[in-house]
Symmetry: C2
Subunit: 340 residues, 2 copies
């Protein structure tokens, strides 16, 4: 049971943000390292994930997930190393992943952990392309958006952890894929990994750029952002187009109900469908997604990038960066080193 | 070939409306009664229909239908009597229906007409419950909204030609049905024909009334209006709810792109679906709908009302009244009398 520190740093929700979160909404405390009870496992964090959905949990309103209470530890997807296990499926030094905490250590029921196979790729990928964002992209594309060969597919937040995988899966299915992102570097990367075109929304008028890159309109729109970028895609929707709504990060920090152009009338004209989805509804099919994704990654058909911030102390900063949209790929925080 | 007048009155689109249409947008002219060519039929109008979709045709923008040209005759669903037929399926005095004109007489290809069976009900019903609005309600309910027993179904413009049939079909399927309409008289009528509850949107706050009448939220919303009424329904949408978008009459007279609360984020929370549809996509299944509808009407399971304006000269007024929302049921114009 070596390699255990004396204290456990963890981040609490200090206060609820109004509008964009700030450092004042977070507080780091030090406590004893917890001890696992029956069926429980003590995990030391190696990587933790920061994700846009967390903004919803900081709000005092029940959405699809319970809000976090002020003063409580904040939760995160974690890849970690087992320190001590009271569960038959795990032993010390195993690499595992689960919904744990913004902390050096956490205890949880063994049934809530999954083993990470280091042979499948870097263990950090279990928080990205081979984890929740990748699985979200997989089901959102294959089950909700359903691109077919020849379709024009537009993806917003295309250089993000979900969007980049969506675009590559859509391209594999024979669709023409256009990504929208916020930097020339992102555009270059997307075009290098199979996107047919990519648009930098900070570089001129998005509507004009979309008209140029989608001369035959848009058959599938995979929406990660909402707001004005989605407004620009809407007029280009084709007859029988499908919109998969995955996230609306442009609206998450709004303090009042955001307004925008009314969108439902267009759906009569197009006989279109808009569908929201949550990856947790696909829990029973997670293995199917991981099998496909890991094969694609191994074959080089799906590429991914990570942006790693060093140190648990910098986790809030990494989270706040999500709303600036300047980073490419999955945003991670490296909290500890592998002991082996 | 008797019973034919010397001249044919018909309405032209005199100018395109900006905002709400006015009488100045219409011009009546008198011409000779047309003569049918090969395969054509001359029809004398008995009833013509005015419908919200016509507002879209008056606009100079291609939507799901070609716009009407300024100076051209206006088109309408018509029930009429055959005066002269060069088509083997029709002979003089047959009652037929088709997409004809705002006119006393019109000529069209025989293949574009359907025979109206007077034994199935009043011939005017071929423009309402046994015509386009009824068939729209049928497919919008059974194929798009798909209410199941126990669902709470909300219908906007519930006392209209489409909404009143939607609600009654949904009630037949075992759902709990709540209608939204604009007059106490409409509320009373809806509650007398199988709606479990109805709300007068002019009588207090719609959101509050919806919360009271939908204590378990909304599983299906059939939207005929858009705008603020739809905004009031949105927060009550349940997990896996479906929205069928049939029309958006609240927006048809807008001169600028209307804005309102952004609606897509709610769909992630609910994993909900919004789908627009057009009845013309169901052309091949029209007979199925008419069989079901005429049985329901004959059995008293689906009731309907008509509001009849007398005289072709009053057709524009009848059309303009659609946007006031004061009438119950299908809006018709009686243009001529049956000759038999």
């Amino acid at each position: 049971m070596g390699n255990r520190a004396d204290t456990n740093r963890q981040w609490l929700l200090a206060s609820r943000p109004s509008g964009e979160p700030t450092m004042e909404n977070f507080e780091m405390v030090e406590t004893d390292v917890p001890t696992p009870g029956a069926h429980e496992v003590l995990v030391r964090t190696l990587y933790m994930s920061v994700d846009p959905y967390m903004r919803g949990r900081m709000r005092d309103a029940e959405s699809y997930a319970e809000p976090w209470d002020v003063g409580d530890p904040m939760r995160a997807g974690v890849v970690g190393e087992v320190v001590e296990s009271n569960h038959p499926d795990f032993e010390a030094d195993d690499v595992v992943t689960g919904d744990l905490r913004w902390a050096d250590y956490a205890v949880c029921e063994g049934r809530d952990l999954r083993t990470v196979d280091p042979d499948r790729g870097p263990i950090s990928a279990a928080l990205g392309v081979l984890g929740m964002p990748g699985v979200t992209a997989y089901f959102g594309t294959t089950d909700v958006a359903e691109p077919t060969p020849g379709d024009t597919v537009v993806v917003s937040a295309a250089a993000g952890a979900v969007g980049s995988v969506v675009g590559q899966i859509a391209a594999l299915s024979g669709a023409r894929v256009v990504g929208i992102a916020g930097a020339d570097e992102k555009v270059e990367w997307l075009e290098s990994v199979g996107f047919d075109a990519a648009i930098n929304y900070d570089d001129g008028d998005v509507s004009t750029a979309l008209e140029e890159t989608c001369p035959e309109g848009v058959d599938v729109y995979f929406d990660n952002v909402g707001g004005p970028i989605t407004d620009a895609v809407w007029p280009l929707l084709n007859v029988r187009s499908r919109v998969a709504v995955c996230g609306q990060i442009a609206l998450y920090n709004a303090t009042e109900l955001p307004t925008g152009p009314r969108k439902l009338g267009k759906l009569v004209e197009t006989r279109g469908t808009v569908e929201g989805f949550l990856v947790r509804d696909y829990e029973g099919r997670w293995g199917e997604a991981l099998d496909r994704l890991s094969t694609w990654v191994a074959d080089g058909d799906v590429q991914y990038r990570e942006n790693v911030v060093e140190g648990l102390e910098n986790a809030p900063e990494a989270f706040l960066g999500l709303f600036e949209g300047t980073k490419i790929g999955k945003q991670l925080v490296r909290v500890g080193e592998r002991s082996a």
